[in-house]
Symmetry: C2
C-alpha cells in the first residue's frame, strides 16, 4: 500500500526496490567525467543502424536488454515496461522495444521521463497488478538537434546557455523483492511556466518546476534538505542549477550542500565545449543508472531525492508564440 | 489491492469507479449519429483560439473542466491527471492543462491513450497513492492532418481505407468511491507489428494489436466473449473491425455479437464521406464518455471490455522505411 500525503505526494509502505539497472552512453558521454561509470559506451553514433532514430531505438533496446541480462531473468518475467523519448511520436521507444513483446506503456515527460516512469512503475508494483517492471528512456544528440534546433550540417552557432543533448539510455528494473535500492516515496510534478520562450535556455525554463516539486515534497513530508545525502536534478545545466538554488533560497530552503545536477556532471563543459551541460531524457536516466544507483546500492549514499526535469514545448508551439511549460517529477530513493 | 493474473493482466479487488466524465466534440462529430450523446458540441474548429493546436488544447481543457464541474469538486481535489495526444511532443495536453496546476503525467499511446490513462490512473488509486484522478485525451482533425498527412489546403485525395481524425476530447474522473462504473480489471497491451506500412490504412495495422490484447485478457481471466455485453475497440474503422473479428475467429474466438468500434460508430461514413470511419485519441475517448459510460452507469450495459487501439509510427519512421507498430490497452468496466 502507498500512503497519500498530499496532492501528488505519496509514501510507499511496502518494499519496491531496484532489481537491476543499466546505462548505455555514446562516445562523447564516455569521454566525459562520468564515462567510466556507464555499463557500455557505444562509439558509433549510428549504433550499427542506418538512421539516428534507429540508433536511438537501439540504445534503448540495449539498455533494457542489459538490465534484464544483469538480473539473470528473461523478458517474459517483466510485466510492464514504461518508456518515452523526445522524438516525435516517441518512435525511439516504440521501435526500440517492439521486438521484446513486453506489455508497453508509452510516456511523454520530455527529459523528466525516467522519473515519471519510476513513479508509475513503482505504484504499479505497489498495487500488486504487476510483479516486475522496467522504466527506460533515451535521447540522442543527432535526433534531437535536427528536430528541435537546426540540421546538423547547417553548423549553427550555439548560445552560451545552450545544453548538449546526451546520446544515452538508462533502464531501471523494479520489483517487490527487498535487497536493492528502495523507492520510498514520490511527488508527481505540476506544469510550471514562468514565461521563458528561449529554446536555447531550457535550464531557466525548467528550474521553476524543479523548485516547485522539491519544495512540495519537503513540505508534505516535513523534511528539510539536511535530511538527504543528495538532492539530484535532471538536466538543468549550470545556469538552471544556479537558478533552482536561488528560487528555493528565496523560500527559505537551502539545497546548496546536497544539490547536484546530472546535466552539469556528465560533460566537462570547458574541455568538451558543451556550454551549460548535458540534457535529454537519456542524460538523467544514464547518470542515475550509471553513477547514483550503484552508490546507493553500496550504501555510500542512503537517502536521495531525484527530481528529473522536462520542458514540454515543441518547435511548433514556440513558432506559435507560446512559452515553455516545464515539469519535474521526484523519486525518493533509500538504501536500508 | 490488485491481483496479478498474468503478464500485463490484472484484476482490481477494491472499488475504483468513475466519479464523473465528460465529452466535448467538434461540429462534424456533432452532426454524426452519436452527436446527441456528447456533452458539448463546439461548432468553431478554432474554439476561439488562434491556431488548431491551441484549439485542441482548449478541447482538452474543456473536457477536464466539465468533468470537474459535473462532479461538484474543485481542481484541488484531483491528485493526478494522465493525458496525451497525437501532436508532436503532446503539446495539446501540456498547454491545455498547464493552467490547472494538477499533478500531471504525460502519456504517449497514440489513439490508445484513453485506455492507457485509465489503466494507469486506476492502479494509482488502487495503490492508495492518490485519491482522485482524471484520464483525458484529445485529437483534432486539422492538427493531425497537417502533421501526419498533407497540408489541408493541398486538398489531397483520401484513399478508400482512410479514416477521419475526430475533433474531440473525453475525460474520466476516477476515485475509490463506490457508486459509479467500476474498473474491475485490465490488460496492458504489447506492441504488435504485422508489417503494414500504409499510413492510410491504420485499421489494418491496429487490428492485430486489438486481437492480441482481447485474446490475452479472455485467456487470462478464463472468460469468453459471451460473458460480456460489449467488446468495444477504439478506432479500427470498418476495415480494421472486419479484420479483428477475422483474426480472432481463426483462433476460435467469436466476438461478432459483442463487438462494436468507436471509429465505425461516430460518423455516418456514407453521408459524411468519412470513408472507413473516425480515428484519433479523441474518438474512443469521446465515444466512451458520451455514449458507453452513461449506458453503463444506468445499468443498460453491465459488463464491458474497452480496448482502445493506437498506431505508434511517425511520418519520419515511415519515410525511413519502417512499418507501423501498434498497441491496444484493455479496460474492463462493470456496473454492479
Amino acid at each position: 500500500m502507498a500512503e497519500y500525503i498530499a496532492q501528488g505526494v505519496f509514501r510507499l509502505m511496502n518494499a519496491v526496490s531496484t532489481e537491476s539497472y543499466a546505462s548505455v552512453a555514446g562516445k562523447m558521454e564516455g569521454d566525459g567525467p562520468l564515462g567510466k561509470y556507464f555499463d557500455e559506451i557505444i562509439e558509433d553514433s549510428h549504433f550499427g543502424r542506418q538512421t539516428w532514430e534507429q540508433a536511438e531505438s537501439q540504445f534503448q533496446l540495449e539498455a533494457v536488454s542489459l538490465a534484464i541480462r544483469k538480473s539473470g531473468l528473461q523478458k517474459e518475467n517483466i510485466d510492464a515496461v514504461c518508456s518515452g523519448d523526445l522524438i516525435n511520436q516517441c518512435i525511439g521507444s516504440a521501435y526500440g522495444l517492439r521486438e521484446l513483446e513486453i506489455p508497453f506503456l508509452g510516456l511523454y515527460g520530455a527529459c523528466s521521463t525516467i522519473a515519471e516512469g519510476l513513479l508509475i512503475t513503482s505504484l504499479l508494483i505497489d498495487s500488486g497488478a504487476v510483479r516486475r517492471t522496467i522504466a527506460v528512456t533515451s535521447s540522442h544528440f543527432s535526433t534531437a538537434e535536427r528536430q528541435f534546433r537546426t540540421p546538423l550540417s547547417y553548423g549553427g552557432q550555439r548560445t552560451p546557455t545552450a545544453q548538449w543533448t546526451c546520446t544515452a539510455s538508462g533502464a531501471v528494473m523494479l520489483s517487490g523483492e527487498t535487497g536493492g535500492v528502495r523507492i520510498v516515496g514520490g511527488c508527481i510534478g505540476k506544469i510550471a511556466d514562468m514565461g521563458i520562450s528561449d529554446i536555447t535556455n531550457m535550464g531557466s525554463a525548467m528550474a521553476p518546476a524543479a523548485a516547485e516539486t522539491i519544495k512540495r515534497y519537503l513540505a508534505a513530508t516535513g523534511t528539510s534538505p539536511d535530511d538527504y545525502d543528495r538532492i539530484i536534478t535532471g538536466d538543468l545545466g549550470t545556469v538552471g542549477s544556479t537558478l533552482v538554488k536561488e528560487l528555493l533560497i528565496r523560500q527559505g530552503i537551502d539545497i546548496s550542500r546536497q544539490h547536484c545536477d546530472c546535466g552539469s556532471m556528465i560533460f566537462d563543459n570547458e574541455k568538451q565545449d558543451t556550454h551549460c551541460g548535458g540534457s535529454g531524457c537519456g542524460c538523467s536516466a544514464s547518470v542515475l543508472c550509471g553513477y547514483f544507483l550503484p552508490q546507493l546500492e553500496s550504501g555510500q549514499l542512503r537517502n536521495v531525492l531525484f527530481a528529473a526535469t522536462g520542458a514540454l514545448m515543441s518547435p511548433m508551439s514556440l513558432q506559435q508564440g507560446e512559452t515553455i511549460p516545464s515539469i519535474a517529477h521526484l523519486v525518493h530513493f533509500r538504501k536500508e
